[in-house]
Amino acid sequence: MKVKEVSETANVAWSPSDVYPAYLACGTSAQQLDASFNTSSTLRIYDLNIGQTNLDMKLAASVELPARFHALKWSGLGGERTGLIYGGCENKAMYVYDASKLMNKAPDYQVCTTEGLHSGPVLTLSCNYMKANFVACGSSDSEVTVWDITNLSAPIIPGKKLSLGANVSCVEFNRQVEHIFASTCAGHCVVWDLRKQTSIMTISDTVSRMKASSIIWNPSVATQLLLASDDDTTPWAQVWDLRYATSSLKTLEGHQRGIVKTAWCVHDGNLLITAAKDNKICVWNPNATERGLEIVGEFPSYNQWCFDMDWGQRDPSLVAVSSVDGCVSIYSLLGSGQPPTQSDKFSQIADSFPGMEMPAVAPQGATPQPIRLRNPPKWFARTAGASFAFGGRLLSWNNQSKSVEIAQVVTEQALVERSIQLEAALSQPHFAPFCQAKAEAAFQPSDQILWQYIGANFDSSPRNKYMELLGYSTTQVSTKIHPLISETEGFNAEFLADKMADLATNEGSTSSLDPSEQFEMIASGQSFDKTPETEVSETEAEASLPIIQLEVEEKEENNHGLITQALLVGDLESAVELCIKDRIHPHALILAAQAGPELFAKTRDVVLAQVDGSLSSLVSAVVRGDLTSITTTCNLSKWKEALVAALTYSNDEQFPALAESLGERLEAKGDPESLLSAMICYVCAGSLEKFVSCWIKTRPETNQPNNLQDLVEIIMGLQQSLSAAGRPTNLSEGNAVSSLLCQYASLLAAQGSLTTAVSYLNSATQGDMVELRDRLYRALGYTTGTSNHPSSQTATRSSNLRRTSTPQNYVQSQDRVWVNYSLACAGDLPMACQKPFYPRILQSVKIKQPSDELSILPTQYTLSVQDQQRSIYGDQSSAQPALLTPSPGFYSPLPVAPPVPQAPAMMNQYGVMPSMGPVQPTPAPPTVPPTGALVSGSFRRGGPSRYVQEPARTALPTNMLNPAQPPQPAPFLPPPSGTNPVHLNPSMTPLSAPAPPQFFNPAATSATNSMYGDQQQQQQVHQTPAPPSTKTPAAFDSSVPRGWNDPPPPSSSRKQCAGEPKFHGGHSGDKKLLMLKQAKLLQQQQQQHETPKAPEPIMCPVPGAIAPDLPQQFMGFQHPQYGAETHAAGAGPAVPVAAAATPEPASKGPLPLEHQVIQDVINEVQSRCLHVVQNQQMKQRLEDISGKMEVLYDKLRTGQLGPVAVSGVHRIVNAIQNGDYRGALGVHAETIAKGSFSELSSFMPPLKLLLQYCIQLQVFLQ
């Protein structure tokens, strides 16, 4: 098929190879006449117009010339880039034209002419292939002339003119030797040597007597040429080698009639074209060894012979052919082309020459076959190449060998080296040195700081380390405070306030010396004042037990007399009021504490309101446990202080959220410093995801390997440190982290570090990561379960374990990503998916408590704590604890006002706390007559110590107390640590029964031992009511090594009460460190009991005062009936309590009609939030909220809420309905300020959280 076509009866010549685009010159042929007998001559230049996929060529130039052409050549040599066009014309002249001038239509396009210098028409010409200015012309009468076009006056006549008197039919310069050319004349071929100016050889075929009419030199073999005959009787072409010129090397036979034109491919000596009068154009391989196979292709037949032909100089696949039917066609040797449009062209000629023997009309519509060369041309094949493969492999091959080279390309050498270092560090048992090294080697201060914080988690006490890094080393602060403290004895609020002021001048450092803790100590101390142990342990108190002055006289300057009187009659409330009036805040608070939580809270708020200055807000926040307000409202320039406060006062469950919210605020600020601060907060919070997104803000070009490596090092460091802190993270959970790790892994993979790369993906659960992991596993040859690879499954490396997964996991998850395709071999796709198993942290703690002097029987307590994944707050099976659980943000001094039906449960739990449970519905505190215990100095005596120490001494909660830390140094361990197990177990026991079965999974625990470190300690094998004998204390101890500083696992921490630590903290600066530790320990213990026991210290009344009222509860505390696994047995006084606990939450009535809107709105807005929330953590919290809101509903049901609270809640709900969350928050704050803390503390914080989420998630009811 033709590529291009133009209607011309013309000789053709291609533009030189370096001209782009390619042109074709067509000069009107002198030998053919078209039907019009037009004898005018035109030289046209066509643009090949290769870009258009049609047959048209663009005319680029056209000039009328004096004579028609016998020969046309276009040579690129010489000065003109577009070359010169040489025409041998019928008017005995050769013309030379400048091609560019022709195309530019410049008038002086003719360079020179040999007009009048030939004896006949110039029938043939050949341009020298090496010397631009030489051209050989052949004319009639055997005339052969070589011209130097720069000097036409001196033609070279090579040797003696042959006296044959015939036309010279062809001249052709040798391709390699510039002074050799050949001519044909009268069937003979003469080879000339220009240097010698003589003919050096005459070739005559004496055997077959072929009369040569045309010559073509072998383009690659200088001594070879091809002679062809246009004589129909010898339609052959012969290959001659001048070195063996006695006979031809080869005769190419195939044409039926004489060969008119030949062309030999310059780029592939194996390609030769001959055009003959039999209308055939054949492609030959003149070098073919096998006779008869020389023809390798044939041009499509258009039933017309061709008289001129030129092989494309630029594109060797294109051949221009001029046929006698007046058509110039361009064919591609490679077979492309357009379907013919003028199949009837030859019929025109047939009409013109009716006498001629013309072939029959070609059948219409017959599509000519494209040229199909038997073998591809040499230039066509790509002989060398390179291709990339997975893992940075580069394959390369070339024609020098039959092998393929596989090479590893490493473009990020630095990255690979750093990754190796990181790997080495990660494989070490201790990661801390790496952090340290990174911090020391850090170029940027920000990096150094971050690494210090990351490293802090490997410290023995991360929180202290954090504080130290933040500039608030506890020991330092303690030293500062110590002298002040030791000067005084006992405590009073004002003095404390002074201390706080002091601290404030030192950048507002927060110590654990907050008043509430003191009061807690005081209260509890007081309550156990009469016990002998307290006396023993409390030495400081001795001095402050002076004679009690019972002054009842009324004086003018103060109301001491009145107060004394009020106290004497037991009118604590009045006494408190008077104290406040007198601004004797310590007394007021002490008395209030004595009077009961309600009064205490009220008093506290009043006192705080009275105390001036910025400090009070901090104190207030601390007292209320409202750390959220610290982190959400503090001046950002004081973020360090806020963080320190959070570190000090929050528990492990709460802290991340606090630090995170602080970080979010800082991040929102956006300047580099704030971003760094935000990152520090995130590091402390362990919020990988947020950290990463923040980091990306500071270094937008994370796609740069070095930055990515920095980030990954930090991520891994953080992960290590978190897991060291007992908070293992799944790296594939967060989007930002996982996509970065995926990016990192693919970068490593691209460097060939496949094993390292895969270790970052072992826990992958998402599409891209899983896909990449699969690829890596297969690339590494890991077994993937296909039938093709029955190799052993040895893929699990320890480093894989590090990231919690194994190839098997992968395999099983593979087909989640790849659908099984019909074409796929079924066996190739591993089946079944299994998520990597993460030991979910449903916990059960068994406490072996030997008998002690309190005559607690050696029994076993089993209690379970729901895991973090399944929010206990929202879980139906744990509806009861949900109600009892204080909100994380607030300490609730009062039990959360349980609805009536649940009161028994409360009792059960708080059996020992007379002020709670049954007392609760009747808030009026028992009027306890003032006793000596009320003297401030005696408040410190250690009720707590008794409770802590004794169980500890008897090795009671071994899972709570680190054996390494003997109980002795913990004299101030606050009561809950000791009492909790006792109090709470019974009520928890029923809860353990519905615990999900997966909960009990010893295998998981052991398998993840190394990873989950501390967490595991909390994960005790849970067996609902297991016989006590199954667990000996020793076995229990050994399986639960516990460090006092071990942060609790995130799971349990969720249930922790935010405000607790401060209530249990010590009260003396020099013991602060210890107190911190104890607070932590306490938290851990508390976390295992999801009930709010924080109130105890405050609540704990003077036993004597309360015991008469609630004997069974107190007994419950004192006696071991809880030890019985099932308290259903009516053995103890607690029996009624336990029994009452069973029939319960299902029977909740609807809310009062007027309050129903509250529930509706809150539920609606919450579910909408849940609908849009992405963040898993947020979702979890949102789910928690509903459980917490139950408290509100219950209070509404029972009408426990005061008018302030009710109206506040209604206003909030109203604001929510209006979408005015800011307003709602305002009302919220207002309500809290006005309302009773005890009333509000349980549900207001979650309500606030809900509001904040609504804002954040842009959820509106309208």
Binding site: G335, S336, A381, A384, A386, F390, Q408, V410, C825, D828
Partner: protein, 312 residues
């Protein structure tokens, strides 16, 4: 930086034209002028011949592995005008489909991103390219004629992530199918599948080369909205065409003018490194610097350039 791991003696009797690793980099397929396709299992420095496929009747130009989600499938194209799709069935490789609807040599083939399905594009010297789509039991083909006059030398699929969707959310289904081809007309053409009409339409014609375009390679997406195409030509140049994904304009940037014809351009799997190989048997690696300049990372010459190559 470039360290030789191993040399796979292919045992071919003639010139090797292509070598490709499968998706996992564990199997190597080679093809040669000896008309055969060979598959090796490569493990470390050792390799085992697992298949010697001899169905072609001419030099085999290229081989291409399908995404493994479709099974172990290899396609090869040859001067014999055929495309053969091979599949491993059990331990045996066999021909599962033959496409012979081209009038001339099939020069290049490329599997579509797996998101689109099991689709193969092949480019032929007859100036057309074909898109073969595997349906449940058969292969459907669509031939786009007159794509490049004189011949079509190379074809490459656009990644499935459409330009402008950096987050990768608009995976197949929404992602437009695009193909880039390079031809003897020295053009690089971008074709877009019009799902409404079911036709491939010429979307853009990129002019920049002055001779046969020998290879085109659409860079794998690296998550950025921009698209990159590398093309190499007989004119000894490599051009990097960049579309920022916003303006839709393809900006050409000449990578380099080499000493010899450039046969192949190949992107690394991560799309950031380009391997350029040509007639002088040299392989050079190129990477875009932060400033947007393409810099040569390494240049390795192996053997001597063959004397008979066509240089201009």
């Amino acid at each position: 930086m470039v360290s030789v791991i191993s040399n796979v003696e292919t045992g071919h009797d003639d010139m090797i034209h292509d070598a490709q690793m499968d998706y996992f980099g564990t199997r190597l397929a080679t093809c040669s002028s000896d008309r055969s396709v060979r598959i090796f299992e490569v493990k470390g420095t050792s390799q085992t011949l697992i298949a010697d496929l001899r169905e072609h009747e001419g030099p085999v130009w290229q081989v291409a592995w399908a995404h493994p989600m479709y099974g172990n499938i290899l396609a090869s194209c040859s001067y014999d005008r055929k495309v053969i799709i091979w599949q491993e069935d059990g331990h045996k490789w066999k021909k599962v489909h033959e496409y012979a609807n081209h009038d001339s040599s099939v020069n290049s083939l490329c599997w579509a991103p797996h998101e689109h399905g099991l689709i193969l594009a092949c480019a032929s010297a007859d100036g057309s390219f074909s898109v073969l789509t595997s349906t449940a039991h058969t292969w459907e083909s669509k031939k786009i004629t007159s794509a490049h006059s004189v011949g079509c030398n190379a074809v490459s699929w656009a990644p499935a992530v459409a330009p402008g969707s950096a987050d990768g959310t608009s995976r197949s289904g929404t992602a437009v199918q695009r193909i880039v081809t390079g031809g003897c007309d020295s053009y690089v053409k971008i074709w877009k599948f019009d799902s409404a009409t079911g036709e491939w339409i010429e979307e853009l014609k990129l002019e920049g080369h002055s001779d046969w375009v020998r290879d085109v390679a659409w860079a794998p997406s690296i998550g950025l909205p921009r698209s990159i195409i590398a093309s190499c030509s007989q004119d000894r140049r490599v051009i990097i065409w960049t579309n920022d994904g916003v303006t839709g304009v393809w900006q050409p940037r000449e990578l380099n003018t080499f000493d010899d014809v450039i046969w192949h351009v190949s992107w690394s799997v991560t799309g950031n490194i380009l391997a350029v190989s040509g007639g002088d048997n040299k392989v050079s690696l190129w990477k875009e610097s932060l400033e947007g300049q393409w810099v040569c990372l390494s240049d390795s010459a192996k053997g001597q350039p063959s004397s008979e190559q066509r240089t201009l």
